[in-house]
């Protein structure tokens, strides 16, 4: 039975659950999904500054922790931690393996970077703009499982890539292991369901779930990460690291099944139009849920391309007020900030944190003991962005009484929009190369 584990659900995820999972379960594959929407654009900027950078910032820490277990147990790692520079990421992994004196082969899959294939007239999916309206930093196609198959056919221990659709990172080992046809859309749909359930790691084992009452979860500080045991027909059983914190039940699985899903009968990936609408869940025993009924139809004709662009500078400032009249003083501060900034700053947003900042409403709960005023705007220049925090800080001596804990911050804002690209224009650039460490080369020569 094929066993695939999930070792990271986002770039900043905890490090040790992946190690625990790999130690305690005999996995065939450990998948680490670490690329959020704009992570790759930020990484691209790193790469422009230094051609040896541009991979995931936690790649070194994650691989240092995992290589020892990998050497003992010989499972394979599949990861998109290559971000904007998978080749540099692979070289870094080899450097770590040399330091640890562990033989290691890394297959690198590239071709997701499609910036040279785009032209200025490309339509943007989210609005009526064209590509030429944006200061583009990066453009990466969401590759599918097919792109990873040549790498899986090599004897590489680690497969590293850049942008690949999240469930495809899990589907590719299933296709490879069971030799599923790339036209067997029903099977690929079911495999995509399993991949989708695993891709956010702890989100199916009780993370992003816990509450008091009906949803109590023990051991969130030692949350166990999930893995699936997958049958030849695609039937999957979701479990978690033995003797770890968290919980796997039909409730956690239902929440994750619908996570980031729009129409459940048309979940688009580069591999298949997956259909989640007839999925059936069965709790076999504690922390063990069987998944069947996923299906699918023909894959989309084009690839989705994620475009990172320079959107300006975000300026932000915060200050707190406490006591019975804290909300009223927060409102005085808001009025001052609007008067001071309205000439130079467009679309200034001011929230009262503690009252209504998260949802801009509070369903009638009007009397917190303290509030924190937050002013923020997206500005065309750094100078404008700086002025927002400065005005908030100046409330110390120019605003209502008792303002404390002022903080200010500016950051460059990288936005993301998408476009579509014909399959041929992406596929022709997809390739795999295998890198080995010198120790291994010396052994084989």
């Amino acid at each position: 039975m094929l066993k695939i584990g999930s070792g990271a659900g986002f770039s900043g995820d905890r490090l040790e659950p992946a190690v625990e999972l790999a130690k305690k379960v005999d996995l065939d594959y450990l998948v680490l999904e670490c690329l959020a929407e704009r992570t790759i654009a930020i990484a691209q900027k790193e790469k422009i500054k230094d051609k040896n950078k541009g991979y995931d910032p936690l790649l070194v820490d994650r691989l240092k922790a995992l290589l020892t277990v990998l050497n003992e147990k010989r499972f394979r790692i599949v990861t998109n931690m290559g971000a904007a520079n998978p080749i540099a990421g692979a070289k870094k992994i080899l450097e770590i393996s040399r330091e640890k004196d562990i033989a290691c082969k890394v297959a690198v899959v590239t071709g997701d970077d499609v910036i040279l294939e785009l032209d200025s007239e490309n339509d943007i999916l989210e609005n009526t703009h064209k590509l030429k309206d944006y200061k583009v930093i990066s453009a990466n196609a969401y590759l599918g499982a097919e792109a990873l198959l040549p790498a899986l056919k090599t004897d590489a221990d680690i497969i590293i890539t850049g942008r690949v659709a999240d469930p495809s990172l899990f589907l590719a080992p299933m296709i490879h292991h069971y030799n599923w046809s790339l036209e067997d859309y029903e099977r690929l749909g079911q495999g995509t369901v399993i991949g989708h359930l695993l891709e956010c790691a702890g989100q199916i084992t009780g993370g992003y779930f816990a509450d008091i009452g009906e949803k109590e979860v023990d051991g969130l500080a030692e949350l166990g990460f999930p893995y699936a045991s997958i049958d030849r027909d695609g039937t999957g059983i979701i479990m978690k690291t033995p003797h770890s914190g968290g919980i796997v039940n039909v409730r956690t699985v239902k929440e994750q099944l619908l996570y980031e899903v729009h129409n459940p009968s048309q979940y688009l990936t580069p591999d298949v139009t997956a259909d989640f609408s007839n999925v059936t869940l069965t709790q076999l025993e504690k922390n063990k849920v069987m998944i069947t009924g996923g299906s699918g139809r023909k894959k989309p004709d084009s690839y989705k391309v994620s475009i990172g662009y320079h959107a300006g500078y975000i300026g932000e400032g915060e200050i707190s007020y406490a006591g019975t009249t804290s909300v009223e003083r927060g409102r005085i501060a808001e009025e001052i900030l609007r008067k001071r900034l309205s000439n130079s700053i467009q679309d200034l947003r001011i929230d009262l944190i503690g009252l209504s900042s998260v949802h801009r409403t509070n369903f009638g709960n009007e009397h917190p003991y303290e509030v924190r005023v937050r002013a923020i705007a997206l500005c065309p220049t750094r100078t404008d962005a700086i002025s927002i925090g400065n005005e908030v800080e100046a409330l110390y001596t120019n605003g209502p009484y008792g303002g404390g804990g002022a903080r200010k911050r500016i950051s460059e804002c990288v936005g993301v929009v998408s476009t579509l690209l014909e399959r041929e224009r992406v596929d022709k650039n997809v390739k795999t190369e295998v890198l080995k460490n010198e120790w291994e080369i010396n052994q084989t020569l």
Partner: protein, 108 residues
Amino acid sequence: MNGKSIKLYKVAHSRAGDKGNTSNLSLIPYNESDYEWIGQEITAKRVKEHLQDIFDGDVIRYDLPSIKSYNFVCKNSLLGGVTTSLALDTHGKSLSSALLEMEISLPG
């Protein structure tokens, strides 16, 4: 209906997901036998009304009888999208809590 109402979080749970400028909110009854009457109460129209101070985009409901759950897709709900939103919760991860603050009439 007997007119007695409770907050939705007493009978169902929810998770928010984000893609671009669209948020989806699942609605999952704790007891699968509550699926039908919760569906009669919590329509797309009522969800849109309840969340009107948060966003003004359209709400579509997808029904999943196989797992006794609903999926509410909320368009234009993330202030222009996760990456450029100025909201404190840029991903709208906490919108599930807003949905569960809805009042629901218990069946008679």
